[in-house]
Amino acid sequence: MVDVKLRGIVKRFGKTVAVNGIDLDVRDGEFIVLLGPSGCGKTTTLRIIAGLEKPDEGRVLFGDRDVTYLPPRERNVSMVFQSYAVWPHMRVYDNIAFPLKIKKVPKDEIDKKVKWAAELLQISELLNRYPHQLSGGQRQRVAVARAIVVEPAVLLMDEPLSNLDALLRVKMRSEIKKLQRRIKVTTIYVTHDQVEAMTMGDRIAVMNQGKIEQVGRPDEIYLKPANVFVAGFIGSPQMNFFDATIYIEKDKAVLDVGDFKLGLNKDLIEVLKDYEGKTVIVGIRPEHIYPENLIPSTTKKVAKVEGIVDFVEELGSDTIVHVNTGSQILVLKISGSHHYEIGSKLVIALDLDKIHVFRKDTEKAII
């Protein structure tokens, strides 16, 4: 059990910069998720923590120990690979026992530990099989068992669920999370799947182009995205973005979008007045726009906009409606099944308390 600190990590491959200055503190026993699109440097970051790559700059600290130049075997880390990397020439038992054998753990203790891990992952009856006799999900369990049997200081997981089918993925998601709670190991988990990140992470580090965009609890990331990238990456369907010009009236700040205006509360004047006359990016999530007749009672202040239904996706549990307001197409997500005629008129209400405003130049959040 140990906390992990990354300080100014930079990694280049030829001319491409895979990781571009990362600082991250992972607390002891925490489950942190590195989330980002493919090629954002999250796997490289994980491999640097594992010791499979050397950073070009920066330090990796486990507690007070600088492990930057230590080989993987001296770091007391474990890893679950995306391809599982279960050794095909060893039986399941030997796969799980191998790390302990190398550490010269006594035989009866190895046996005890292997059985403990196998039971935890419900693979006790598979111990005598070879990996090629197992299904993908079973192999995955073997990989996890092998990773926890050594009682690592840090457990690293590189998209461990991405090769499983959808049902199994949901099941393993909760199992891995429960397992981590039970053995309380510091865990760093890489994924590109926002649902995995939201459901499993104690905290999420959203990465893009080799940098960490935001670190926070899942609800923080969702409710208070630090910039346009994070706002757009989290949430499905994606947040609606459009440009607006700010001007301040006596008792309110107004976002002028063109074919409609959004009047914000006067307590935001203080924050927004520096941007008066400037263009900003406005963001609002699809689940925070409602048809006029379906405004929730808890909603305090809305702006109503008239538009034409452009496209409807009925998903059963939700209905996603694309509404053309003239200059914009806004997407709204309504829970439950609803029917809308394409081409018909629809008055929609934007929840003004849920609006995000970002700077146009830096794309950083203002509110």
Binding site: R73, V77, S83, W87, P88, H89
Partner: protein, 275 residues
């Protein structure tokens, strides 16, 4: 009903044609073997008789004659040379193949091409310089000398084959080894090597057969320590036909035994390592 019949005819006709083609292919390969073996033991009168195609009387005399002339030592020489060739070409080729498979370095592709290019030169061109070099080094007429020459011939092949074998073994398996307590050498020896073994055994078979069959270099570089092909070239080729057949029998037999053993071992291993 009628339509069904024609489709059935078509189906069986197709099957028969395929079977026929397979039989032809097998005969093509196997007939020379059978003929060589039959005539190797044929009584000379049967061999020369115009009425007899398949000999009726058999004798060990031809084989015994060749062994008396030194075929036994030649076989042993050949095996020694072939095994030395395998050892040397693997000692040099395996690390190179591994490097080609695992690492990215400048000039990798041109180097690979260059290695294949080495096989471009006809052996005859380098034979005379090689002999004079060997005489100066004191390697002429030695088995090590032949093995070194064979190593040079087999090496490009070994490098290319082993690199594709290593490339077929996922890097993550080794990395998992590194994570779980092995150093690089340990990961190679305990993870990669066991997985590569069937492929390496196949490469060893090819190397063995190449060395076993190679006649030119062996004949040029040796005088008293002949390998089997060189021995046959200088002794049996001037003799009567059934002696030649006996020579080819001696030539075929050990190679066949070697391949059969290696092949069974190979299949047994592939059953486990292939997923």
């Amino acid at each position: 009903m009628v339509e069904k019949d024609t489709s059935m005819v078509k189906y069986y006709l197709f099957k028969i044609i395929i079977a026929g083609l397979v039989i032809i292919a097998v005969l093509w390969v196997i007939t020379p073997f059978i003929i060589s073996i039959l005539y190797a033991f044929s009584d000379p009168t049967d061999y020369y008789s115009k009425e007899i195609i398949i000999p009726l009387h058999y004798t060990y005399e031809h084989v015994r004659k060749l062994v008396a002339l030194g075929a036994g030592t030649a076989i042993i020489n050949s095996v020694i040379v072939a095994l030395m060739t395998i050892a040397l070409s693997f000692a040099l080729g395996l690390p190179a193949g591994y490097a080609f498979a695992r690492f990215v370095f400048p000039g990798k592709d041109s180097l690979k091409l260059f290695i294949i290019g080495l096989r471009m030169f006809p052996i005859i061109v380098i034979a005379v310089p090689l002999v004079s070099l060997y005489i100066r080094l004191g390697l002429s007429d030695s088995l090590l000398g032949v093995a070194l020459a064979h190593t040079a011939m087999a090496l490009p092949f070994v490098i290319i084959i082993t690199s594709s074998i290593f490339a077929g073994i996922p890097k993550e398996l080794e990395e998992a080894g590194l994570i779980f307590g092995l150093d690089r050498t340990g990961a190679f020896l305990r993870i990669t090597m066991p997985l590569a073994l069937p492929g390496l055994a196949a490469a060893a078979i090819f190397t063995f057969i190449m060395s076993w069959n190679e006649v030119f270099i062996a004949a040029v570089l040796t005088l008293t320590n002949r390998t089997l092909p060189a021995f046959i070239l200088t002794s049996a080729m001037a003799a009567t036909d059934f002696i030649k057949f006996a020579a080819s029998f001696i030539m075929i037999l050990p190679a066949m035994i070697f391949v059969f053993i290696a092949r069974r071992y190979l299949i047994a291993m592939w059953g486990i390592t292939l997923r």
